[in-house]
Amino acid sequence: MATMETSASSASNHEALANSRRTRNSWLLSLPAVLLLLIGASGPLLVLLVCSFLEPGDYGGVIWKPGIEAWFKTIFSDGIGGDAIQLADAHLLIFWRSVKVSLLTVLVTFALGFPTAYFIATRPRPQRTVWLFLITIPFWSSLLIRTIAILEMIRGEGVINTLAIWIGFIDQPMQMLHTEGAVLLGMAYVYLPLMVLPLHASIERFDFRLLEAGYDLYANRWQVFRRIVLPLAGPGIVAGSILVFVSSLGAYVTPRVLGGDESAMIASLIGYQFSQAENWPLGAALAILLLAAVAIVLVIFIRTLCAERADDR
């Protein structure tokens, strides 16, 4: 008996050892990705952070002289005479527009994406693959080309205006380009798959008999959707919303092409500081602000969602 116990405990020791080795090894497996993240994300972020606390060079670049002027300028601007301090209206306007358009993009992609994802997830399996494949087709061509195609549709002499005038709906071309609506349209189109794919993934795992249980227990269609479908699709909704919101907030190409200067978003503003305005510290400060804004929104979003789920329980 005693010998048996010893051998059993030595076996379990052996197992524990093997386990710990396995964990160590699997950590090693993730090393390349971790390195890439360090070099690709954390490194540049550090550079940006340092940059934002330096002074701008005359023709771009930075002078190694510490200062917080850049941070000051993200929110305030010098008055015309140089003595009065005002809020930097242009920056705040662009900030606000970016957040607003990004939230709207999330709403629009959710409104369009949920029925789509539901439709796909309820098809027989072989059909599902085809539909998912179709959803990803836009990814095959360059974002710039797709955005320019939208531009071609909505610009002053574009397809829609020409058609509308030819039919006789309108006399004058409508101003669609360089509006927030145009940016919203473009972004909703570009980021729709980012909403549909995670939604589909969570709806596909659904046990549809739960819906029958809901109907059986006196829930109407809306109640089944609100009380069963939505909570169960929760993870997909969170993932899709985060993907779309973060992508929208940092989007550069689409707002640049469809929004122009009139409906510029924050990425354009940052780009502008690094190029034409040749103010790298301000660009860096703005970029870090953008990052912080994204982080804050994410935390709030996840918090409310978790609270709601806890509430349901």
């Binding site: 046990d207 249980a213 809901g214 059986d216 349901d312 329980r313």
Partner: protein, 365 residues
């Protein structure tokens, strides 16, 4: 049961349902009727694919019949959606809501009915006590065992106090011991709540022990409805006689009829007296004898049919003796084992076969 017939809780009248079309057309239900009394444990019994689940789904409102009607009391509810029928279902996989706690699952139906908060919490507490799950109220549904899930599903479906509770093979996922335990539990719940239970199963033993009445179904047809005793000892036909318990079947021709019994001559020449029931008393007929009603005696005893034991299978309480009559008919006798152990008959032995009085029963088909 004597006196006036109580009103029906649920009635299905001439229900037919066809799934698919053209080549793939399958007739799931063919002119099926049943009447379920209030406060009765009614079991739909049949092999898988016999239509019992479809029939339950029709009562619940998930399927609409191609023809026929479903009544709740006197009200025609054939076209009423499930959420407006005071009938609840316990699903085969229990279908508990994974995002809600045990208590919130039980509260769901009451919340949807818009009951006041106080009433909901009182009813939920009462229901959880009824199924003995009080201490699990705040657990997540993935933290409890299979039989506990079934208890929660029962509480959830009973909480709104439906006119009838539909149970779609809810015990199928449980192992033998838990199954026995939950059978008793279901019986107790039915008695305590006084709600009509409509229970679908393919397990004949389950049906016999739990039910007030059993409806035997096969291939979309309602074969026989009756008390467990009716179904077992007076099966209407070959299907019921073989699906519920085991039966020996014999061919024969009617020799003479006396009241509701007939003398039947078997091809081997033996004459057997059999109950007629609803069968027509003429020509060639089939009659059935349960293995436990077959007696073995010494070979050559007067009034017995000479036979040979071809196989003896020991199974604890009983021994199954496979026999061949001298005329060629084969049959099985189930003999209770004596306290002293071993089977009294073994392969190759000769014996005299006799049927218990009233054991032979002529089938209608």
């Amino acid at each position: 049961m004597a006196g006036k017939q109580p009103a029906t809780a649920i009635e299905a009248r001439g229900i037919s349902k066809v799934f698919g079309s053209g080549q793939n057309e399958t007739r799931a239900l063919d002119d099926v009727s049943m009447q379920i009394r209030p406060n009765e444990f009614f079991t739909l019994l049949g092999p898988s694919g016999c239509g019992k689940t479809t029939l339950l789904r029709m009562v619940a409102g998930f399927e609409v019949p191609n023809s026929g009607a479903v009544f709740l009391g006197d009200e025609d509810i054939t076209g009423t959606p499930p959420n407006r029928r005071p009938v609840n279902t316990v699903f085969q996989n229990h279908a508990l809501f994974p995002h809600l706690s045990v208590a919130r699952n039980v509260a769901f139906g009451l919340e949807m009915l818009g009951k006041p908060r106080k009433e909901i919490s009182d009813t939920v507490a009462r229901m959880l006590a009824l199924v003995r799950m009080e201490q699990f109220a705040n657990q997540a549904t993935n933290q409890i065992s299979k039989s506990q899930k079934l208890r929660v599903a029962l509480a959830r479906a009973l909480a709104p106090r439906p006119e009838a509770l539909l149970l779609d093979e809810p015990l199928i996922a449980l192992d033998h011991k838990l199954r026995k335990e939950m059978q008793l539990e279901l019986k107790r719940l039915q008695a305590e709540t006084g709600i009509a239970f409509v229970f679908a199963t393919q397990d004949q033993q389950e049906a016999l022990t739990m039910s007030d009445r059993i409806a035997v179904m096969n291939a979309g047809h309602m074969i026989q409805i009756g008390s467990p005793e009716d179904i077992y000892s007076r099966p209407s036909g070959r299907f019921v006689a073989s699906f519920i318990g085991e039966s020996n079947f014999f061919e024969g021709t009617v020799q003479s009829v006396k009241g509701d019994v007939a003398d039947i001559r078997m091809p081997s020449g033996h004459i057997v007296t059999a109950r007629l029931g609803a069968a027509k008393p003429e020509g060639s007929v089939t009659f059935a004898v349960r293995p436990e009603h077959v007696r073995l005696e010494q070979f050559g005893v007067a009034g017995t049919m000479p036979a040979k034991v071809t196989q003896a299978v020991y199974s604890g309480t009983d021994t199954h003796c496979h026999l061949e009559l001298d005329g060629g008919e084969r049959l099985v006798a189930r003999l209770q084992n004596a306290a002293s152990g071993g089977p009294a008959y073994d392969k190759g032995m000769r014996a005299g076969v006799r049927f218990d009085e009233g054991a032979a029963h002529v089938l209608a088909d």
